[in-house]
Each structure stands twice: as structure tokens, then as C-alpha cells.
């Protein structure tokens, strides 16, 4: 039996019923009296000088309240490198550049007005690949940096590299080497809920913005700068997060549309809402980066890794978001997935005239795991070793400190490998007897599971407030965006405080009431919230027990009096209930009792009654209400990116996915027959939320492996919508997905849990690629693995075989 009453139980998701019934309020459902509707005029070129903007026809349209261009409003710089302007001045660098905006009394009028804005451009030479951008004499996308200093190349100045071990010596000990250049495409985060916000000012110049974000507090900081630009320095910014229909990384940066709605709210004096529809979401929100990754790795004669070298080139697009720090997270797997004694990692982020990119679930990890785990199977083949055996041989172990300095307090990789192999019938499925064009493959993963420090603080605050009726309200700065944070947090608060989950209520995230949190990313939500909650709950319990010393005897007397009135008898307490000390109280299920008699009803006090008894006293002066706060800062290091060293997370999550596929060798189609995912999550907090995270991540992983790609032509997106951007739907996920969890009880995790938001997506693509390789003997290096690519590879293989036979 579990040692926990609530943690690990199949509780319903607290927000589930409202989402199912359609009564949850997303940004699309919120209107404010007097609200105007904003719309944005986007660039029509990948790179061009803005010669002239004519807004006269838009301004003349009935119902239009404001039309703004860079000339009408103060300049506002934003973005991770502050290389972006909210409204573009001088030139545009990508098709999604914002050049003008309109506020009108209804959305159709706003869009019509946008169409009436005429912009004259003078096209400039453009670059659409990092190779073009790095070529001698390539056009500069940014002539100067944010500080106005001239720039000399299109490389974004964000170094991230690593070198450990003696690479030369390692190469000498190497018996087998493989290498290859793997690529991953730009893809869409494709959250069901599209983007949007409502900005409004009060008459004192204080701003409230209701917006779909994952970083309410960093957004607050960002929006302070626009207030300063508007001459409102020092006024208050309040960020309110409504129900969020998925974000997957799109909410990790502030966006031009948010600043634009603020500017329009300022110019009109009215609340202004901007909403993106699906096509706009595709065309004008930043996708996940494409990257090209060269990998070379070697092993000794027994199959032990000797070294690994990785060179990453990432297409940044025209501006820089947090997503440009992907290499920081790539370092984790590059240096620390398996025991590798010598590692070199180099990365370059390159500006192009493509749509600028931003983060998505996994944050560099699905990218880097693709070459590592694919080339591992090639290396195993070169060494004549079973890839599963090779993984086992090189598996990380608890207590390891990796070349990056990651301290693996717990590590269930070996068990995940064994369980995956057992469930997918590895030996039999790979055996020589297998049917043609069927194959199995597996891939491992390591993911930060205890935060990921890439900012000055990786901490989280929490405020718990008990009301007079035994309910606890939780103010937390992280964002529930469908991942199940509230499910996990509810169970953890119930467990740590000793109340029932129905009595735990998590507030809407609001910078006015929630304590600071760095943001909901890096699988950190439940880990941080839980640790903060445990600390705050302990403080709250201590205060409750302290007051219980005074209140408990009288409340027990009241119980007794009531029983006597009813003529009932009670057995003796067996201890002196009139003088219980604080260390002997306990609180469980919302009932206060003494550890000596946990089950005697007349010796139990309902929490609500206890709280009222403490709250409503006859004496004047200092009274008591129960509110506690805690701020948890994980014991981690902000790595030195120039050396690529630092223990950036408190815990590390491991996992393995195994896949069986069948390939139609005539059409090139890949059918997944089954998928197994075994994940070391430390501890299962909310099984329902965790399964949701895994299924969702795996679905995205299947999309990454087989279908998804943003197609562009000269920087313009060709498939901006679900008609031609293909994700797997439920109909395509028609194979069994088996989940299993390994509980390694991490010492840093709340109740032993490690973060599990991202792992689902990380290992799917290489597992699928490896299964295809097992099935038909061809390896596709470029995601997604489309039927076209398989047919081409099969033809090339045939030609090579025929050529060899003929020669």
C-alpha cells in the first residue's frame, strides 16, 4: 500500500468538468465592456526596406478608432536579445513582421482596415538557410545590435559549447566510429487554444493585461518597459492568465501582438483585444526551430562509448526568442545521455529571413536526441552489438556526475531499458524470424526533472490561505495550460496539509495575487509547486498545532457536551486531552486529532470549526488567520555556457520508448503497430495528469517523426493551417500505447517526483527511426520520415546493391 493518501491516486482533474462543459473561460470567451478589437498588418516581404506606409484609407473607414505605425508610437524594443521592434521601422526582415495595427469596434472592420493599409516596399536580398546566411558577403539581417553597435555576421552572439575528457586519447581507444548530419524541421506547437490578449489601462495609467502566457512574471517585467516608453514609468503592470488551451512553449516569450494591444489600448483609452485565428497562429506566431546536427560518436571493441562530438546549427529566423537557448538544454543529452568519457559540443544560432522561432516542449531535447539515439543504433550495427545491449552497457547510474556536472541523484534508465525490451518483446521481434518490413526500435532520453536553470532564479513561490470553513486557497505563479499542474498540486497540498482534495482550490494565475515564479516550462511546474507547497504546508501545520494547544480542550468539551445531550456514552480518551502539546497533533482529511487517538470521533475537531474558534476570539488586539507563504529555490547552478558545465537541474528524468513498425515498401508508408514508453518519473503524483502528459507528448513525437513540417518558399509559409500542416489525429494513433512508470523516489522531488511534462515527446522520433531501420535497413536522417523519403532511400539502396552486384 502506498504511504500516501492522495499522492498517486486517480483523482479527477479539478478544472476538467468546466473544460468539458465549455464553461472554462479562455481568452476567446472574455469580453470587457467597451472593448475594441485589434488587428495587425504584417509584412509582405521576407526582407525589404519600408518606403512608405499609407494609412489614410484605413483611418477613414467607419468604426476604426486607431491606426498606428512605428511613426505614431514610441519605439518599443523587445525579445530575448532585444533585437525586435514591436512595430517595424526602416525595414522588415520576415513575413511575420508587424508594420501597422488597427483598433476598431468589431473584428471584421479591424481586418478590413488592415487590408486598406498600403505599404510600399523596396525588396532586399534575403537568406533562407544558415548556409546562405553564413556565406561570404551575405546580406546582414541586423546591421546593428540592440545597443546600436555594428554587427559583422548573421551569427547570434549566444555561445554555448562544451569540451570534456581527452578527445584525442579517446579516439585512439576507439574501435568503431559512426557519423552523420541529422536535421529536424520547423514545426508548429499547434495548441488547440490560439493566442490572444486583452489590454486595458485604468485612469492612473496602470495596465492590466489578460493574456495567454507561460511566464506571467517575466511578462510583467517585459511590459514594464513599454510603460516606460509610454511615459508611464513606475506604474503597475498586472498580468492575468485565463484558462489556457495548451501553449507548448508559445507562451515563453512576450509577443508583438501583446505590446500592440497595449499600444492600442493606450491610444484609444479603451480595452483592446487581439485574437489570432488558426491561420494567423500558423503564419504569425513563432514555430519550433529547425536545426542541423552533425554527430560523430565512437565506442571500444566491447561497445562502450569512447567519445561523442556534436555540432549544432540552428536557424533562428529574423529575431531572437528564448528558443535561441535550445543549445543550453541540448547540452544535457549531448554530454550526459549514457556515460561518455569525452564530449565536444559546439553550436551556432544563425539569423535568416525565415519566421523567427521559439520554444516548444522538450526545448532542444527532441532535436538532440534524434541524432544521438539514431546514430547509437548505427554504432551498434558497426560494432555488431544489439542496440539494446549497447544501451544497457552504457547506461547512466544513480550517483553519477556527468561531464556537464549533472548530479544524478536517482536514475532509472537501466530499469526503463529492461522494462521496454520486455514489453516490446525485443529479442523475438528483432530475431531473424521476423516478417519482412516489420521492425522494432528503441530510444532513451534524459530530461531535466527538477527545473532547468537558465535564469537568475529558477524558483517558485506559493501562498496558502485557509478560510473559515477548512478550504485552502492556493496562489501559485505557474500556469495550468492543460498539462495537469492543478491536478498534481491539489493532491500534493491535500497530502502535505492533511485536507481532502475537494477542499483545495487553486487561484487563477494573476501577478497581483500570485507569488513570483520564473515560468511554466522545463517540466518544472509540479516539481517546483510541490516543493514550495510542502514547505508552506509544514509552516501552516506548525501554526495550526500551536493554536490547537489552546483551542483543542474546549472543542473536545463541546463534542462531549453534544454527545451527553444525546445521551451517548464515550470510552475514556486514554490521555489527557486538556494539555496536549503541539508535537502530538496531526491533521488528516480536514480533521484535527491527537496521534494517541487517531480514530476516536469525539476527540477529532473539524478543521473549519477549529479555524473559526481561533479566528473569532473575544479579546482585542492581535487575532489569527492562517496564511503561509514559501519560496522554493532548487539547489542548482546556472551553467557557464562557454564551458557547458553546471548542474542545471535538481533531478533528472529518464525514459525509454520502444516502437514496432511495419513499412509498406511499395508506398513508403510507415505504420506504427505499438509503442511502449517506460519513464522514471521519481514518483507518480497524479496518474491521470501524467498519462495525459505522456500520451500527448507521444502524439506530438509521432507527428515529429512522421508527419509534421512547416513548408516555406522564400520565407513564406505554404501550409499555414491544418489543411496542409498535418498532425496525427486520433484516427492515426490507432495503435496501442503502453505506459509504465518507474518510481525511483528522488530525494529532491516533492514526494520523490521528478518533472514529466516533456519526456513524452523526446524519444519517439529516434525510436521510430530505429524501428524503420530494423525493418527495411534504411536510415532517414531528416525528419519527418515521409513516404517519399523512404521510397527514395529504398531506390538508392537498390541501385547501390545492383551497382555492387554488377561491379
Amino acid at each position: 500500500m502506498s504511504k500516501y493518501r492522495h499522492v498517486g491516486t486517480e483523482a479527477q482533474r479539478p478544472e476538467g468538468a468546466d473544460k468539458l462543459a465549455g464553461t472554462a473561460r479562455y481568452i476567446h470567451d472574455i469580453t470587457v465592456a467597451g472593448m475594441l478589437h485589434g488587428a495587425i498588418k504584417f509584412s509582405e516581404h521576407a526582407h525589404a526596406r519600408i518606403v512608405h506606409i499609407d494609412t489614410s484609407r484605413a483611418r477613414a473607414l467607419s468604426g476604426v478608432r486607431s491606426v498606428i505605425t512605428a511613426d505614431d508610437v514610441p519605439e518599443v524594443r523587445y525579445g530575448f536579445m532585444r533585437d525586435n521592434l514591436v512595430l517595424k521601422k526602416g525595414k522588415v526582415r520576415q513575413f511575420r513582421d508587424e508594420v501597422a495595427a488597427v483598433a476598431a469596434i468589431d473584428p471584421d472592420i479591424a481586418r478590413e482596415a488592415v487590408d486598406l493599409i498600403e505599404v510600399e516596399y523596396e525588396p532586399l536580398p534575403s537568406v533562407f538557410t544558415p548556409e546562405e546566411a553564413l556565406a561570404e558577403g551575405a546580406v546582414l539581417i541586423h546591421e546593428t545590435d540592440a545597443a546600436g553597435r555594428p554587427r559583422t555576421s548573421n551569427v547570434v552572439p549566444l555561445p554555448c559549447r562544451h569540451a570534456s575528457g581527452d578527445l584525442d586519447a579517446a579516439k585512439e581507444r576507439t574501435a568503431h566510429v559512426v557519423e552523420g548530419t541529422y536535421t529536424v524541421p520547423r514545426i508548429q506547437q499547434a495548441a488547440l487554444g490560439t493566442s490572444g490578449c486583452i489590454a486595458e489601462f485604468d485612469r492612473n495609467g496602470n495596465l492590466t493585461i489578460t493574456t495567454k502566457t507561460q511566464i506571467p512574471f517575466l511578462a510583467q517585467r517585459d511590459f514594464n518597459s513599454i510603460l516606460a516608453a509610454l511615459g508611464l514609468e513606475g506604474r503597475n503592470v498586472r498580468v492575468v492568465v485565463p484558462a489556457v488551451g495548451g501553449a507548448f512553449g508559445t507562451g515563453l516569450d512576450t509577443h508583438a501582438y501583446e505590446y500592440i494591444s497595449i499600444l492600442l489600448a493606450w491610444t484609444t483609452g479603451k480595452p483592446v483585444r487581439i485574437l489570432y485565428d488558426r491561420e494567423q497562429e500558423f503564419a504569425y506566431l513563432s514555430p519550433r526551430q529547425s536545426a542541423s546536427m552533425f554527430i560523430r560518436q565512437g565506442c571500444d571493441a566491447e561497445g562502450r562509448f569512447t567519445f561523442r562530438e556534436v555540432d549544432v546549427v540552428q536557424d533562428n529566423g529574423a529575431y531572437t526568442s528564448w528558443g535561441a537557448t535550445y543549445p543550453n538544454v541540448m547540452l544535457v543529452a549531448a554530454t550526459s545521455l549514457y556515460r561518455v568519457p569525452a564530449v565536444r559540443f559546439d553550436s551556432r544560432i544563425v539569423y535568416t529571413n525565415n519566421t523567427y522561432c521559439q520554444a516548444m516542449r522538450g526545448y532542444g531535447n527532441p532535436e538532440i536526441t534524434w541524432p544521438i539515439e539514431s546514430s547509437l543504433d548505427d554504432l551498434a550495427a558497426a560494432a555488431g552489438i544489439d542496440p539494446y545491449e549497447m544501451r544497457l552497457l552504457n547506461s547512466n547510474q544513480p550517483g553519477d556526475v556527468t561531464p556537464m556536472g549533472l548530479k544524478l541523484a536517482t536514475c532509472g534508465l537501466t530499469e526503463c531499458l529492461d522494462r521496454t525490451a520486455a514489453r516490446i518483446d525485443w529479442k523475438e521481434a528483432r530475431g531473424p524470424e521476423r516478417r519482412t518490413a516489420r521492425g522494432v526500435g528503441m530510444a532513451s532520453l534524459i530530461n531535466v526533472g527538477g527545473g532547468g536553470k537558465i535564469y537568475a532564479s529558477d524558483g517558485s513561490g506559493i501562498i496558502l490561505k485557509l478560510d473559515d470553513f477548512g478550504h485552502v486557497n492556493v496562489a501559485y505563479g505557474g500556469v495550468e495550460m492543460g498539462q495537469g499542474l492543478h491536478s498534481a498540486l491539489t493532491l500534493m497540498v491535500a497530502e502535505a496539509l492533511g485536507v481532502e482534495p475537494e477542499n483545495v482550490h487553486i487561484n487563477e494565475t494573476d501577478t497581483a495575487t500570485s507569488p513570483w515564479d520564473v515560468g511554466t516550462h522545463a517540466s518544472r511546474g509540479a516539481f517546483m509547486a510541490g516543493n514550495a507547497a510542502v514547505m508552506a504546508c509544514e509552516k501552516l501545520r506548525a501554526r495550526i498545532f500551536e493554536h490547537a494547544e489552546k483551542v483543542y480542550p474546549a472543542e473536545v468539551e463541546r463534542n462531549l457536551a453534544r454527545l451527553r445531550d444525546r445521551g451517548e456514552d464515550v470510552s475514556p480518551a486514554g490521555f489527557d486531552y486538556t494539555s496536549v502539546t503541539r508535537d502530538r497533533f496531526d491533521l488528516q482529511g480536514g480533521r484535527l486529532f491527537v496521534v494517541d487517538a487517531p480514530d476516536e470521533p469525539w476527540l477529532q475537531i473539524d478543521l473549519g470549526r477549529f479555524l473559526r474558534a481561533v479566528h473569532f476570539t473575544k479579546e482585542g488586539g492581535v487575532g489569527t488567520i492562517f496564511t503561509e507563504e514559501a519560496f522554493y529555490e532548487p539547489p542548482t547552478e546556472l551553467p557557464d555556457w562557454d564551458r557547458g558545465i553546471g548542474n542545471m537541474s535538481a533531478s533528472y528524468t529518464f525514459g525509454v520508448q520502444g516502437v514496432e513498425v511495419e513499412v509498406d515498401v511499395d508506398t513508403g508508408e510507415v505504420r506504427i503497430l505499438r509503442l511502449v514508453a517506460v519513464t522514471d518519473v521519481g514518483r507518480v503524483l497524479s496518474p491521470q495528469a501524467l498519462r495525459g502528459q505522456m500520451y500527448g507528448g507521444i502524439a506530438q513525437g509521432v507527428g515529429y517523426a512522421l508527419y509534421e513540417e512547416i513548408k516555406t518558399e522564400e520565407g513564406r509559409i505554404l501550409n499555414a493551417g491544418f489543411t496542409d500542416y498535418k498532425m496525427p489525429s486520433a484516427a492515426d494513433l490507432d495503435f496501442p500505447i503502453e505506459l509504465e512508470f518507474v518510481e525511483t523516489d528522488d530525494p529532491y522531488g516533492p514526494f520523490g517526483a521528478k518533472g514529466a511534462g516533456e519526456p513524452g515527446i523526446v524519444a519517439t522520433a529516434p525510436a521510430v527511426g530505429n524501428a524503420i531501420f530494423d525493418a527495411i535497413g534504411v536510415r532517414i536522417l531528416d525528419l519527418p520520415i515521409t513516404p517519399e523519403k523512404i521510397i527514395r532511400a529504398l531506390r538508392e539502396k537498390e541501385t547501390a546493391v545492383a551497382g555492387a552486384g554488377g561491379g
Binding site: 471584421d108 491561420e279 511499395d666 508506398t667 513508403g668 508508408e669 508527419y707 513548408k711 505554404l718 501550409n719 493551417g721 489543411t723 496542409d724 498535418k726 498532425m727 496525427p728 489525429s729 484516427a731 492515426d732 515521409t786 513516404p787 517519399e788 521510397i791
Partner: protein, 286 residues
């Protein structure tokens, strides 16, 4: 985005409104047209709904099978006469959109939208379908093959309505099948193929082949189908046919696929279609 919406009750009324309303478009299920309007790819001054025009509904199994242009795909799927006589048309409905789409989408709309990949087109081409068109001046009939003019372009004159799709009766050992491939399950076809053979004493006496998404219009493969006549559907013939089709199609590379792959896939699907017809007389299979 604003337009007048008309809801005529009779065909005469619909035709009158069309004649009197420049820039008006007919709308049946709206699953093509409304998407275009929302994407701003179409901006009609008015919409004339055909959903309540009684004459355009219903399926009539007379000398020819007459399918009203406003019959929805769901209605079509449930019609025993279609399942019995024209199984390839049923095949084409199964992967078509989703249930919600099939509840709204009409057969007439699929043809009048004239997408090169329209799923209903290849089966109807191999069944020698005829379409009935009508304007205020009167009605005319036209072979479906001639109805398609180019991508999104048809032989419809302004103000003219497609009233019905007519299918000749089925006789003899006629076997037909429709196969299609798409990127994911919910997708328009990358390539589709319909095949029909009439067999007599183990030999093919009549053949029809058609393919979708490999030419500007849903395409009847007249030269290729000629290779089948007089043959016993043996491997050699099937191989010849699936190679020959490449000369009759003109696929393009677009966001969905490449010309090269579409050519390859057309051959594969034709081979599979003919192998199925050889193996399973009269059976429509996916």
C-alpha cells in the same frame, strides 16, 4: 466578410435569384465554399443555399441511378442501390473527411468544387457518370469527364445549377474499386485511383481507369485502360498498365507531395487496384 443569404424552396426560385443577383454563389453543404470565404479566397456578394431545394435531394433508382446534387455523402453511404451497384463510390466515401464533414458535404458540391483530388470524381468517371445541369433556359446533360475544365473550373455557365448525377445501370461481371493515399487519415488525397473492369470468360472486355490529384482535373486514363481490354488481368498486363499510366498523368510538386512520388504512387495504386479486381469479383475494397 458580409453577404446576403438566400434560402430558396424551389429550383425555379433558386435560378431566378441567381439570375437577378450578380456575384452570387450557390452553396450546398458549404464545406468547401465557407472555408474559402473564411480564408478570404472567395468573397461572394450573396449565397444561395441549395439545401432546401426539394428537387435537388433524393436518390431515384430508375433506368439510370439518379442522385440529386444536394444528397449528402452520409445519405449516399446509406443507400443500398449505391452499395450494390457502385461500390467504388462507397469506397471513396469512407476516407472522405470526417463524419461531421460527410453529414454536410454534398455529392454535387464535391464535383462543382472541381478539386483535382475530389474523392467522388474518379469512381464516378469509371462509372461513366453523366451530370445534369439546369439554368432558366432549360436542362442539359454532359459526361462528367467533360464537366471538369481545370482546377476549380467547370463547364457550369453563370447561374447554372447541377441538379443531378446520373449513373448507367450495372450489368454483367463488372468489378470496381477505389484506392487512395493521403498523408494522414484526415486529409485530402495525395493520389487516388478508381478502376473498373468488365470480365467475360476470364478476359477483360471493358475497362475504365481514373486518377485523382495527378492532373489539373480528375482524369480518366483512356490510353492506359485500353491496354487492359482483351487481357486476362495477368501480372504482365497489370505491370504494363501501372507503368503506362505515368505517361498519361501530369502530377505537380506542391505542399502535399512531389510529382515524382505521385507518379510512383499512381503506379502502385493501379497495380493494387487491378490485383484486387482480379482476386475479388464485384467486391469494393479500401
Amino acid at each position: 466578410m458580409s453577404y446576403d443569404y438566400h434560402r430558396p424552396r424551389s429550383l425555379a426560385e433558386a435560378l431566378d435569384i441567381a439570375a437577378a443577383t450578380p456575384g452570387a454563389r450557390f452553396v450546398a453543404g458549404g464545406t468547401d465554399l465557407m472555408v474559402q470565404i473564411h480564408k478570404r479566397a472567395a468573397a461572394p456578394a450573396a449565397l444561395i443555399s441549395l439545401r432546401h431545394v426539394a428537387e435537388l435531394g433524393g436518390i431515384d433508382n430508375g433506368a439510370r441511378l439518379r442522385i440529386g446534387s444536394s444528397v449528402t455523402l452520409t445519405e449516399l453511404q446509406a443507400e443500398p442501390a449505391v452499395a450494390a451497384g457502385y461500390p467504388a463510390l462507397i469506397d471513396s466515401m469512407r476516407p472522405f473527411g470526417s463524419r461531421q464533414i460527410r453529414n454536410m458535404a454534398t455529392l454535387g458540391g464535391n464535383l462543382c468544387n472541381a478539386s483535382p483530388g475530389a474523392d467522388a470524381a474518379p469512381p464516378l468517371l469509371v462509372y461513366d457518370a453523366v451530370v445534369e445541369l439546369r439554368d432558366r433556359a432549360g436542362a442539359r446533360e454532359m459526361a462528367l469527364e467533360e464537366f471538369f475544365v481545370g482546377p476549380g473550373e467547370t463547364a457550369l455557365a453563370p447561374g447554372e445549377v447541377m441538379t443531378a448525377i446520373l449513373l448507367p445501370p450495372r450489368a454483367g461481371d463488372v468489378r470496381s474499386v477505389y484506392l487512395r493515399k493521403a498523408r494522414v487519415k484526415m486529409d485530402v488525397a495525395t493520389v487516388s485511383v478508381a478502376a473498373l473492369v468488365e470480365m467475360e470468360e476470364g478476359s477483360c472486355v471493358r475497362a475504365r481507369l481514373a486518377a485523382g490529384a495527378v492532373a489539373p482535373v480528375p482524369k480518366r486514363l483512356r490510353d492506359t485502360e485500353g491496354l487492359l481490354v482483351g487481357s486476362p488481368l495477368d501480372d504482365a498486363t497489370i505491370a504494363r498498365v501501372s507503368t503506362a499510366a505515368a505517361d498519361e498523368i501530369s502530377p505537380i510538386t506542391d505542399v502535399r507531395s512531389t510529382a515524382d512520388y505521385r507518379r510512383h504512387l499512381t503506379g502502385v495504386l493501379l497495380r493494387r487496384a487491378l490485383e484486387r479486381l482480379r482476386a475479388a469479383p464485384g467486391e469494393g475494397v479500401l
